[in-house]
């Protein structure tokens, strides 16, 4: 599974508790009300475990990590 799909599966199932949610790559996660600040930490830990990449707390902002695509690009750049 590619990074985007892995992220989407994790977010819809573990955070939104709705695996059927049609999450798009460019959909706003934080400002769209899908993920809150507390769940962002869960995403960080998932990324570290799954992809071996740590995204620092201060990098996890609306500007840098508001979509699956944003997060995937950050991961790709560091792998």
């Amino acid at each position: 599974m590619d990074i985007r799909q892995e992220l989407k599966t994790f977010i819809t199932k573990e955070i939104m508790r709705n695996p059927k949610y049609p999450l798009k790559d460019v959909e706003p996660l934080i400002s769209g009300g899908l993920i809150d600040s507390f769940s962002l930490v869960e995403v960080q830990l998932f990324i570290e475990k799954k992809f071996g990449v740590w995204i620092d707390d201060m990098e996890m902002t609306v500007e840098t990590c508001n979509t699956v695509d944003d997060i995937a690009k950050l991961i790709e750049a560091r792998q």
Binding site: R17, D36, S37, F38, D57
Partner: protein, 579 residues
């Protein structure tokens, strides 16, 4: 006045109280002007500032002078629309120096819908007769447009116009009386019903005296806080108490903290913090979401007490926090609890200061079926653990009453009522609500609990309310928001809280009946519901559950039954492994 002793804080119950907060400012400036009032902490350390008592109140005096120049007088309501920053701290005390009444309004966040946000500000300004707003120059035009039609408003004051110079001594003549309103705190209420809690100087000083005694506050204490200031816990415990007691406050922004929770722990270590107030979810967050690599060389041994407050307290949250931080010097008696509310200025009870923190194991069935909290046998695997909130603080009485407001015996669950000398004067511009909340001098809290050996145990609440990370959310508001979405059947929505074990707080769940069930429509409604909820409340809905006709359970009178639908939903989610 005498110089402060090296061990005692100046405001305490066995000591004459100052008349007003203004008198206390004057006393502190006379006795300890160079003492550090504030360490303002930032995550990267670059914006870190150390501010003395004298510098702090000189900045406040600059604001007071600017307010005076703009026509503000004693008793005028001044609303602060500012981020968690030095600006908001100085502005608050600037208004107090002048005898005006400050009130902190939550700042616009990137998640809130600006139109809706400004509408609620407009409603507040109109309803409460706000005289002036202090905000950033960037918001100046927008606020002027939004508030153009409100009568009696003075010009909006930008933070760029506060640096006029000033000295607190210019304002000693403005001293209010002990009965004057010192400031407004916001109490929760569903949309349109938020209440401004009026607190007099005397009530606030009585609270500081009583609560400081309960927590044994000493001159060498250091308070660390990341809490927002528009909430009683942050405003009183994490701002007004340390400043008025002349002990250092280590303050950081809630927005910084939530992104990097470990900065609180490192600030405690750096400044030898001794006291810290946290809502329950923060214990889970700090226990489970901080990586060990962020904790290298951490030393928390200076901490006298973490005080769990403002949402239901869970024994397992204390346990995981204790386990995680014992290796970092957290002592075994440092986890305590306070039950508090804005209407009592802040604290009502405090546990764990003169003995160990108590946990009451009770039998499940008498609790659920007879409103009784009966001690459970040691081997009762169904027992529930209720965390003690401790004894009432000095000058505060607590009792548990039945439906007829009659006191109940120990271990009988009923509504918690309180009486004290730090109660609100009333709700601002809402006299009729003020009268409703009191019964023969007792304030009825709407919370449920029981007493054992003089200690209070809180078990739930009468009112329908969801508390998410210490923030009160009314299900009626969520239901109304989702009901307006195209494709949701009007009035066919129900919202409630679902406790999240991992986070240590409640999640919002909302169920909506939809008229078309194709995937595309479902996706759109899901998306819109989550977006609108966060824009209106700044809190996310974890569960958005769309259902067809006949799913929702109604009462015999045709109303949607919140509890029955909650049970049905929980069963479905559990069956699908999604809880």
């Amino acid at each position: 006045m005498t110089a402060p002793s090296t061990t005692h804080v100046p405001i305490r119950i066995d000591h004459p109280l100052p008349e007003t907060l203004n008198a206390q400012i004057r006393y502190l400036l006379d006795t300890q002007p160079e003492a550090t009032a504030l360490y303002f902490v930032t995550p990267d350390g670059k914006g870190e500032q150390t501010i003395s008592t004298r510098a702090f109140f000189e900045h406040a005096a600059e604001v007071a002078r600017a307010l005076r120049q703009n026509g503000i007088q004693a008793g005028d309501l001044v609303v602060l629309v500012l981020e968690h920053s030095l600006d908001v701290l100085y502005s608050f005390w600037g208004a107090i120096l002048l005898g005006a009444v400050p009130s902190i309004f939550p700042f616009l966040t990137e998640k809130l819908d600006p139109d809706r946000y400004f509408e609620s500000l407009h409603a507040l300004v109109e309803r409460s007769g706000v005289r002036l707003i202090i905000t950033y120059p960037a918001l100046y035009d927008r606020l002027n447009t939004v508030l153009a039609d409100v009568a009696g408003m003075l010009p909006i004051l930008g933070t760029d116009r506060l640096t006029t110079g000033g000295n607190p001594t210019e304002f000693w003549d403005y001293a209010p009386t002990a009965e004057s309103t010192a400031f407004l705190q916001h109490s929760s209420g569903s949309t349109g019903l938020q209440k401004g809690v009026m607190l007099s100087h005397r009530a606030v000083l009585n609270q500081l005296a009583g609560y400081s005694t309960a927590i044994r506050l000493q001159a060498n204490d250091v308070i660390c806080s990341w809490l927002p200031l528009y909430h009683d816990m942050g405003l009183i415990a994490g701002f007004i108490m340390p400043l008025m007691q002349g002990i250092p406050l280590v303050l950081m922004s809630p927005f910084h903290w939530v992104r990097a929770p470990h900065i609180l722990l490192h600030a405690i270590q750096k400044y030898r913090g001794t006291l810290c107030w946290l809502p329950n979810f923060a214990y889970n967050l700090l226990a489970t979401r901080v990586r060990d690599v962020q904790l290298e060389n951490l030393d928390l041994s200076s901490m006298r007490a973490f005080i769990n407050c403002s949402e239901p307290v869970r024994a397992d949250s204390h346990q995981i926090f204790q386990e995680k931080y014992t290796p970092y010097g957290l002592t075994s008696n440092a986890l305590t609890v306070s039950y508090a509310m804005a209407e009592n200025t802040f604290a009502v009870t405090q546990s764990g200061m003169d003995g160990p923190q108590k946990y009451d194991r009770i039998r499940r069935l008498p609790f659920q079926e007879q409103n009784r909290a009966m001690p459970a046998a040691g081997d009762d695997e169904w027992a529930l653990v209720v965390v003690s909130c401790g004894k009432p603080i000095p000058n505060c009485e607590v009792r548990v009453v039945d439906g007829d407001k009659k006191p109940l015996p120990e271990r009988q669950i009923g509504e918690i009522a309180l009486r004290s000398n730090s109660m609100l004067t009333g709700y601002y511009h809402q006299a009729e609500i003020s009268a409703q909340a009191l019964y023969e001098g007792w304030y009825l809290t709407g919370d449920l609990g029981y007493m054992v050996e003089g200690e209070l145990y809180v078990t739930g609440r009468k009112k329908d309310l969801i508390i998410v990370g210490g923030k009160n959310i009314y299900p009626q508001d969520i239901e109304a928001i989702v009901s307006q979405i195209d494709g949701v059947k009007d009035g066919r929505t129900v919202a409630f809280g679902v406790f999240n074990e991992k986070l240590g707080t409640e999640d919002i769940a909302v169920i909506a009946e939809i008229t078309q069930d194709d995937e595309e429509t479902q996706g759109r409604i899901q998306r819109e519901a989550r977006q609108r909820i966060v824009q209106a409340t700044d809190v996310n809905a974890r569960f958005v559950h769309l259902v067809g006709p006949k799913w929702l359970i109604k009462t015999s009178s045709g109303k949607i039954a919140r509890n029955a639908n909650r049970e049905k939903f929980l069963q479905e989610m559990a069956a699908e492994g999604l809880l």
